[in-house]
């Protein structure tokens, strides 16, 4: 071969891979960015409502998650994958399910636990059984219940809160609590005179008495609508989850609108139960998973000492995912049942 030809063949080094050779163009990173983007409306509104505190919690949570993942992967000589933005999403989700006034060190511990115990010990992205952000939160709830249950910005069920809602109340002093907690106290006879309908508007538009991400159900729904339209999340899980909650709440004669909007249900149903890694992979499985979530959530809300049930429901159903997937394999073309 002469020099010229050699040069030419050098210039035309061809890549050889298995087919297919074209690609739809949406990467793991882009999916993560879409989910993060869908959470931005509620995040920015929370910053406006809760001011500096929320900013500290959100920034610190994301920072801790990313640093934990990067440092761990460097230490273990693994490829560093913080560029896929999954750690950023975990950090953001964790912040959104924390009360706005938690101290900084709680956030740091939560972020570290979420990434280490929730994700990396299982082998990193794609291998974890439980939703990492929820693992972070559950450890915090069990370890520092006083902070997780009381660091609200402005308890809605208080004098100031009711003034904000424009509801006249004769109640003098009410323990600081979330609307969901207040309803629980109502059922237990510890509280009286509060109607769930008082909270509709606040829960939908601007709820200062809850976790950072629970500040506005409407803004969460807008983000969720984008993800559904982009087909990034499958409608089966949130629809079956919320549908089951509606059915069982009706059976137990609860206020449906209140129980749909209150607590972390909207955030959980659209943004955490739909986490690809920890939810069912088959279509039939997603339906079973969603129904299971709804059932457990209502059960815990009405019959347990826990004021909030969404987090536990998702973690419980995460355990069932491999089993559900195993028994809900799609029908294979040309394979008949008898075969």
């Amino acid at each position: 071969m002469n020099e010229e030809l050699k040069k030419e063949s050098e210039a035309q080094k061809l890549t050889v891979t298995v087919s297919p050779h074209i690609w739809q163009g949406e990467s793991t990173r882009q999916i993560m960015l879409w989910v993060i983007g869908a959470l931005l409306p509620v995040t920015f509104y929370a910053l406006w409502v809760f001011k500096f505190h929320a900013l500290m919690v959100i920034a610190l949570s994301i920072f801790t998650c990313v640093v934990t993942e990067g440092v761990y992967q460097k230490m273990m000589k693994l490829p560093v994958t913080i560029g896929d933005f999954s750690a950023v999403l975990t950090g953001l989700l964790l912040a959104l399910i924390l009360p706005p006034l938690v101290p900084w060190w709680i956030v740091v511990i939560g972020g570290f636990v979420a990434i280490m115990l929730g994700k990396q010990v299982f082998g990193g992205l794609g291998y974890n059984i439980f939703n990492p952000a929820l693992v972070g939160r559950v450890v915090l709830v069990l370890s520092w219940p006083q902070h997780l249950a009381k660091d609200w910005y402005l308890p809605l069920v208080s004098k100031a809160g009711f003034k904000l809602l424009g509801v006249a109340t004769k109640l003098d002093a009410i323990t600081s609590a979330t609307p969901l907690y207040a309803m629980k106290q109502m059922r237990e006879g510890l509280l009286s005179g509060i109607k769930p309908a008082y909270f509709y508007k606040a829960l939908l538009l601007s709820n200062p008495g809850g976790c950072i991400g629970e500040v506005s159900a409407l803004l969460l729904l807008i983000g969720a609508a984008v993800l559904l339209a982009k087909r990034i999340i499958d409608w089966r899980i949130p629809l079956c989850y919320l549908g089951t909650v509606v059915v069982f709440t009706l059976i137990l004669k609860g206020d449906v609108i209140f129980y749909l909007l209150a607590g972390g249900l909207i955030l959980g149903a659209f943004f955490m139960a739909t986490d690809y890694v920890t939810s069912c992979i088959t279509r039939k499985g997603k339906i079973i998973y969603g129904v299971g979530l709804g059932f457990i959530t209502v059960l815990l809300r009405f019959y347990s000492g826990l004021p909030e049930a969404v987090m536990i429901s998702i973690l419980v159903m995460n355990c069932w995912v491999p089993l559900i997937d195993k028994y809900t394999r799609p029908k294979v073309f040309g394979v008949t049942k008898s075969a």
């Binding site: 050889v16 087919s19 050779h21 990467s27 793991t28 896929d84 990193g124 794609g126 890694v277 040309g334």
Partner: protein, 436 residues
């Protein structure tokens, strides 16, 4: 409209060549004809180095039933019979021919104007016809179903669901008479009652043209299908057109159907009416790195580089050169590789439309897109999972043998996992196990 489950919609990229009529090209200085061009037993050479051959002369043959002979596509002198680079393997025994100036063709005499059925089948085999859609399965085998499996319906596959390719589309427009004649021949051989020509609705011109041509035919009908990949996969096409489901591990003839590609049908007509063996075919040359994309009629054995030169060369450096369509074709490492009977196109691709970038591959995030889009109802995520640890038994239990390797799973995968790699590896390991 009739539709199959799953599938995807890759960008068509067909505009570049759709309205360009089929052109002939000049002869290359060297024709390389591999003796392995089809599924089945490879051929043995019938000629030796230094021999003079005529165009259409048989140069490779075997006794095996599942095989097809190979003919010289040019007249000239045989330079060598040696191993050369091959588009689907590292190397294959090939007959290298230097074409002469005159180009004398060997014409088979057509003494029988209406040959009987066995004679037609013999002609199809002798003409070396194989499936021109890409799989290159010997056609006479498809036309010889056992007695207990009667075929009542013939489907002509005009879907051309792969992006870029327009060669079948052009042939449907430019060679519609041959296509219809070939269809009636196939129906005659199989004693089939009717035929359908399946065409996707992104080819309205071809649909209209053929509908006009078929006005007087009661037993051949056009079926217009919604555009969706991989509609051209035999099993899915049968399901969409007839509602019949080919059983797992079975063949179309198990449900009374034979599917033939447009190009193959035309080749059958040419062989029976004019005695022309399969020595040339229509291909599409396209892709963002090709200066002048074209539809060309090329001699089997023409090297890629000659064809690309005829299309004005590269406009920029290609990252990949592919033989076949972008979803199922084979990436080439050497431009001296010749086209074979199953080559439907040559694509030179650059830029971000390319998949499988090993630098950007992430772990599977269980997004379920591969499952939701798999037209066969498989769970391709498991093949990457179990393939990576060599658990072939579990792969088999997840029906890997039913995979049609359409590539949809990798096309939609955000983690850019090479599913087809794991699937082919698993299939070959499972077959080895079955043999031993």
């Amino acid at each position: 409209m009739k539709i199959f489950k799953g599938g995807t919609h890759p960008p068509g990229y067909k505009e570049a060549t759709a309205e360009k009529s089929i052109k002939e090209i000049s002869l290359p200085s060297e024709i390389i004809i591999p003796l392995t061009q089809h599924i089945g037993a490879p051929n043995q050479p019938l000629v030796s180095s230094g021999d003079k051959v005529k165009a259409g002369q048989k140069i490779g043959e075997t006794d095996s039933f599942v095989s097809a002979p190979i003919h010289s596509s040019v007249s000239g002198e045989i330079k060598a019979i040696e191993s050369r680079s091959h588009c689907m393997s590292r190397g294959a025994l090939s007959v290298v021919i230097i074409p002469d100036e005159k180009q004398k063709a060997e014409k088979t005499k057509i003494d029988d104007k209406s040959p009987d059925l066995d004679k037609i089948k013999e002609i199809v085999r002798e003409a070396g016809i194989v499936g021109l859609g890409g799989a290159a399965f010997p056609t006479h085998v498809k036309l010889s179903p056992p007695k207990e499996k009667p075929v009542d319906t013939v489907i002509i596959n005009g879907c051309e669901c792969e992006s870029y390719l327009t060669c079948d589309y052009r042939q449907m427009i430019e060679q519609s008479d041959d296509l219809i004649d070939g269809t009636t021949l196939i129906m005659k051989i199989l004693r089939a009652k009717r035929a359908y020509i399946g065409i996707e609705n992104n080819k309205p011109k071809a649909i209209k043209h053929l509908q006009e041509k078929l006005e007087d035919f009661d037993d051949i009908k056009i079926v217009v299908l919604p555009t969706k990949y991989p509609q051209g996969a035999e099993k899915l096409l049968i399901k969409v057109v007839l509602g019949r489901e080919v059983p797992s591990g079975g063949l179309p003839m198990d449900v009374g159907v034979v599917v033939q590609n447009v190009g193959t049908t035309i080749a059958i007509s040419n062989a029976v009416r004019h005695g022309t063996p399969l020595v040339e075919r229509v291909i599409t040359v396209s892709g963002s790195a090709i200066k002048k994309p074209k539809n060309l009629r090329v001699k089997i054995g023409t090297p890629i580089e000659h064809i690309i030169k005829e299309c004005g060369g590269f406009s920029k450096d290609p990252i990949k050169v592919i033989m076949g369509g972008p979803m199922t074709g084979f990436a080439q490492y050497d431009l001296a590789i010749p086209i074979i009977k199953g080559t439907s196109g040559i694509l030179a691709l650059t830029g971000k439309e390319l998949s499988l970038d090993p630098l950007n591959q992430t772990a599977c995030i269980r997004c379920a897109r591969c499952i939701n889009n798999c037209p066969i109802g498989l769970m391709p995520n498991n093949y990457a999972l179990y393939g990576a640890i060599g658990d072939w038994d579990t792969m088999e239990s997840f029906n890997v043998m039913d995979c049609i390797e359409c590539g949809t799973c990798s096309f939609v995968c955000p983690a850019r996992i090479p599913h087809i790699q794991y699937i082919r590896l698993g299939k070959s390991r499972i077959m080895e196990k079955c043999k031993s």
